[in-house]
Every structure is written in C-alpha cells, then in structure tokens.
C-alpha cells in the first residue's frame, strides 16, 4: 500500500514532462539525429581540445594520454612565428573589416535608391553571385589576374612600369586579400541591410517629405537610424571574428606560399601547418583553443557593449 502510494507520487512528479514528451514525441524524434550530430561532431571535438593540455601520440585516445599542464601554451607563447601569425590575423581582418564594412553599408543605401526594379534586380543578382563561387575558383581568378601577363600587369606595363610578381611579394598580400574579399562579399553583405530597409514603415518617409526633407536627409535621418540594430548586429559578428579565420583560412591557404609568410600567415594556417602538416597535434590544438577563446571573449564584450549602446545584441 505504502509502496504503491510512493510509486504514484513519483509518477505524478514526472508526469508533466513525460506527458509533454509523449504528446510531442514525433517532433522530438525529428530532432534526435541532428542533436546526435551536434554532440558527436561539434561538442566531442570541443572536449577533444583537451589534447591541448595532454600529450597526444599516434594511438592515444581522442583526449590524449598524459596531462602536461600548460606546456604547449608556454611553447607557443615563446614562438615568434605564432606571434607573426597572430599579428597578421589581426591586421588583415581589421583592415578588411574597416574597408568592407562601410562600403557594404554605402552600397546597400545606393542600391536602395535605384527606382527601376529590373535594373536593381540585375545589380543585386550580379553582386550576390561571387558569394557562391568556390574559394578555389576565387583564388584561381586572383592568380590569373595578377599573373605576369595578366590584365593588372598589362596595365602596369601600359603606364611604363615593370611587371610585378604579386604572388611572391609580401607587401602586396594585404591588398590582394582585401580587394578580393570586397569583390566577393560586397553584394552579399547588403542583403541584411536591404531586408531591414524594406521593413521600415513608409509613413516615416511620407512625414519627412512633408517636412521638406530631401532624399539625402531621408537616408541619413530615417534609413540609417532604422537599420542601426542590423548594423550593430553585423558589426558584433564581425568583431567576434577578428581573431578567427572564417573564410580567410581557405583564401590565405590557397594564396600564400613560404616566401610571403611574413605578411600572410594567419593563426589558422599556422595551426594547419603545425598540426596536420607536422603532426604536432597538441601544440596546434593549444593555439587553436587560444584563438577560439579570444574570439568568444571578443564576441561577448562586443555584445555587452552593443546592448549598452543600442539596446540590442546577439543574445
């Protein structure tokens, strides 16, 4: 009797959640495979970062076999090539962001001023296209265009200069990186802005017109303030990626060579060479973990700041 009562009360205690799951079991079942995927291929590697603190040899478990503390962190902190990669990551990303971010916003505002719908659609279609092109093809295009007899060097020769070996000149790498990046990302970057602009209440513009505001004033005092949350969100995301690699890894990896490491080697390519290239798994993981942590901190700080300033953030 007493046991029965106990059983009932425990069943009652579990009932809401169990009943909830039973009611919606099909929907929860849908999520099962994706969740398993995230556990195995997203979270397991996070815990696999443990090898940054543990010695890893061929045949060790996923998490390495002997705890060595911060040895690998001390190693890379003393490594000049790590700092070179760190510096390059920051300068390349920061200069790219400084160029791309305002250009994207301006391009979006200009696109928005196009009144002929077909023409607007055409420009959009064309400018979104590079976003979908494989980085291999982008890198190939870059190499063809700056090659010894490519169009850029034709121009240089036309103006009486000597051909430049762009791909082996370290001073040219940042320019190539930024230009090709803007070429690829400019159009795609406007999508979010255009989406935000399209949701602005038209009556705001009507009211402004009544008050005698011209087109420029309307853009400056209505459009920009209305899409400020979008601008902030995108800026946070970009700041969070300042030390990260994102799409930069593939591009740098495809375009750099040992002659121009000085200006082109970034943290992620460094991690690749140390890890996959020379099998220093623990060392490379320590560097990668460091990079990931900095990103997380940057993102959190940027998010906090944005919440304070504009009242909106990522989370």
């Amino acid at each position: 009797m007493g046991e029965r009562k106990k059983k009932m009360s425990s069943a009652k205690h579990n009932q809401p959640l169990m009943a909830h799951i039973r009611k919606y079991w099909q929907l929860y079942l849908f999520m099962l495979i994706p969740i398993v995927y995230f556990v195995v291929f997203r979270y397991l590697p996070m815990f696999g970062s443990a090898i940054a603190f543990r010695k890893y040899r061929a045949g060790s478990s996923l998490f390495g076999d002997r705890y060595v503390g911060l040895r690998y962190f001390e190693q890379f902190i003393r490594d000049q090539s790590f700092w070179r990669a760190f510096r390059n990551t920051l300068t390349l990303n920061l200069s790219y962001l400084t160029v791309r971010f305002p250009l994207t916003l301006i391009f979006a505002l200009l696109l928005n001023e196009i009144r002929k719908l077909h023409w607007k659609k055409f420009v959009q279609t064309v400018s979104y296209l590079p976003h979908f092109i494989s980085m291999v093809v982008i890198a190939g295009m870059v190499k063809e265009i700056v090659s010894a007899n490519g169009p850029i060097n034709q121009l240089v020769k036309f103006f009486g200069g000597d051909p430049i070996t762009f791909m082996s000149a370290q001073e040219w790498f940042p320019t190539i990186f930024i230009t090709s990046g803007v070429w690829q990302a400019l159009g795609w970057g406007t999508i979010m802005y255009l989406a935000a602009i399209s949701s602005i209440n038209p009556s705001l513009y009507e009211a402004a017109k009544m008050d005698g505001a011209n087109k420029f004033q309307q853009a400056l005092y209505i459009t920009v303030p209305c899409i400020l949350p979008t601008i902030t969100t995108l800026l946070i995301l970009d700041i969070g990626g300042l030390v990260g690699s994102g799409a930069a890894f593939e591009k740098v990896f495809l375009l750099y060579n040992s002659m121009i490491y000085e200006s082109s080697d970034i943290v992620s390519t460094f991690v690749y060479r140390m890890g996959v290239g020379s099998s220093n798994y623990s060392y490379a993981t320590a560097v990668g973990l460091f990079e990931g942590m900095i990103n997380l901190v940057l993102l959190t700080v940027a998010n906090k700041l944005s919440k304070k300033v504009s009242g909106s953030g990522l989370w």
């Binding site: 959640l17 799951i21 919606y24 099909q26 929907l27 929860y28 849908f30 999520m31 994706p34 969740i35 995927y37 291929f41 397991l44 590697p45 996070m46 696999g48 696109l111 196009i114 420009v123 959009q124 279609t125 064309v126 979104y128 296209l129 979908f132 092109i133 494989s134 291999v136 093809v137 190939g140 190499k143 063809e144 265009i145 090659s147 010894a148 007899n149 060097n153 070996t165 762009f166 791909m167 082996s168 070429w183 999508i191 989406a195 011209n214 420029f216 969100t233 995301l237 593939e250 495809l254 060579n257 002659m259 991690v271 798994y281 993981t285 990668g288 990103n295 997380l296 909106s312 989370w315």
Partner: protein
C-alpha cells in the same frame, strides 16, 4: 527655388549612382569574363599578354582536351554525386531540427536551442576535428567529405525563422483532421516551404560543390577526389612555375588555358541554377536574419 535645386542635385546623384552601379557590376563580372576569354584563347596569345576581355585566336580545343581527359570527368562525376547526396541529407536534417525548434510549445527547446546556437560561436577547432574523423575511421570515405558541413547552425536558424513565420492555423486544422505531428510536417509544412527549401538547397549545394578542404584532409584516394580539389592541385601548380620561377613559362602557359577552362566548367552549373533560386533566397534571408 530650393525645391528645384534639390531635384536637380538628386538628378545628378541618380546619374552618378547609375554609373557607379554599372562599374560595380562590370568589376564583379570581369574576372569571370577574363577566365572565359582565356579558356577560349590560344596559349601563345595568353603568353603574349594579348588576352584582356575577349578570346584571342579563338579555339575550343582546350575544352575538348580537358573534357576528353578521363580524370576530369571522374572528378566531375564525384562532385555531382557528393553534392546531390550531401545536399539532400543536409536539407532534410536541417528541416527536421529547425521545424521543432520553431515551436514555442516544445518545452525542451529552451535547452536545445542554446545548445545548438553555442556551436556558432565556439568550436573544437581544426585539429580535434581532424583527430576525431580519423579515429572514427572515416578517412577515405565519402562520409568524411560530407560530415564536416552536414548541418550548419546558421542555416538551422534561418529555416527556423521561416517556419516560425508560418501560420499555425493550417497545422491545427490538419491535426484535427487526423494527421499526426509527423504527417503535418511532411504533408503540409514541407510543400508550403518551397522558398526556404530552394534557398537551403542552393546554400548547401554550393557548399558541397565548392568543398575542396575536406577532400584535401581526408581523401587520399585520387579516384574519390571532387573537381574542386583537382582544381586546387592545378592552381597550386601554377604558383611553382609561372608566378614564382617563370623559367618554365611555356609549360605554365599551357596550364593557363586548362586552368581557366577547368574553372569555367566548375562554375557553369552554379551559374545555371543560381538565377532561378535567387528570388527565393532573397525572400528567405529577409524572413530570417541573424538575430537569435
């Protein structure tokens, strides 16, 4: 008076804006045109630096020679296979995660959503992933090519916003008519989600089509290479001859035709599909947005 002046300056602006847009479009298209021009030009003309925008000494022989090579066709077939196979699974899994996540009535979502979203901001990094894939014995398998990009968190969020924006009345009506929750998803929701499904198909498809890095990391077996990885090999070959040394310029120039031609062949399918899907993804992205 001032009004007239304003409209005048706006007219000037419109002209300048149009010119600017033409320039941007031209600059975006130029590299593609240049590749096409090179792919149809003779080696000698490219070597002499005569090719700038139109083919010089027009010839289609490069295409014939590339397409008659068994290996190129093989890599191309691999890419098509991986892309179709990967895209179908990716879109299905993304939808199956995004749809339940869009239902506020599911109580466990408040734990599942942050669990998924966190992976957007932090990850295990290259090496732990690499070690894991090898430990799981996935090296040299198609799975190793598909798995790294199987489900994108960002796309899950985009799709979730789309589902969240759908009216729930249809679903409720269908449920009353006796369709289960699963039936509603497959028979009602998916057919109504063509814009987002088309968008996801393009996004994932372009991702698989472009992917060379997974192949580079995991596919040692040449017969399994996708065309993107083959391209990477021939483009890298270009660094060692024409750009760096330039003493083997002639042989590097033979490659210039083939390089351009291979790149054009790789981009063409995308160019064909892209305009049809474009109107969907603009719509899809507008409903979505990055915000969590």
């Amino acid at each position: 008076m001032t009004k007239l002046k304003e409209s005048k300056s706006y007219k000037v602006f419109k002209v300048v804006n149009t010119i600017l847009m033409i320039l941007i479009s031209a600059a975006t298209l130029y590299p593609f045109l240049y590749l096409v021009a090179q792919s149809f030009s003779s080696e000698a003309a490219i070597y002499a630096g005569k090719v700038t925008i139109l083919p010089v000494d027009f010839t289609a022989s490069t295409y014939l020679s590339v397409l008659s090579k068994g290996e190129f066709i093989l890599y191309y077939k691999n890419t098509i296979l991986y892309t179709i196979f990967g895209t179908i699974i990716s879109v299905m899994l993304t939808a199956m995660l995004a749809y339940p996540l869009s239902k506020p009535k599911l109580r466990l979502n408040k734990y599942i959503a942050p669990f998924i979203i966190f992976t957007m901001y932090f990850g295990g990094g290259l090496i732990p992933n690499f070690v894991l894939m090898n430990k799981l014995g996935l090296r040299n398998t198609v799975a190793a090519f598909v798995i790294p990009g199987l489900i994108s968190t960002y796309y899950v969020l985009l799709m979730r916003s789309f589902f969240a924006g759908m009216s729930s009345e249809i679903e409720e009506a269908a449920e009353i008519d006796g369709l289960g929750k699963g039936g509603v998803f497959f028979k009602i929701i998916l057919p109504l989600s063509k814009p987002i499904l088309a968008t996801m198909t393009l996004f994932y498809g372009a991702g698989y089509w472009s992917n060379w890095f997974s192949a580079f990391l995991y596919l040692d077996d040449k017969s399994k290479w996708p065309v993107a990885y083959y391209l990477r090999q021939i483009i890298l070959g270009a660094t060692t001859t024409s750009e760096v040394g330039a003493n083997d310029a002639a042989s590097a120039q033979i490659a210039a035709n083939i390089r351009s031609c291979s790149m054009v062949l790789m981009v063409i399918p995308l160019l064909i599909v892209y305009p049809f899907v474009q109107r969907y993804f603009v719509q899809g992205m507008m409903l979505g947005g990055v915000k969590e």
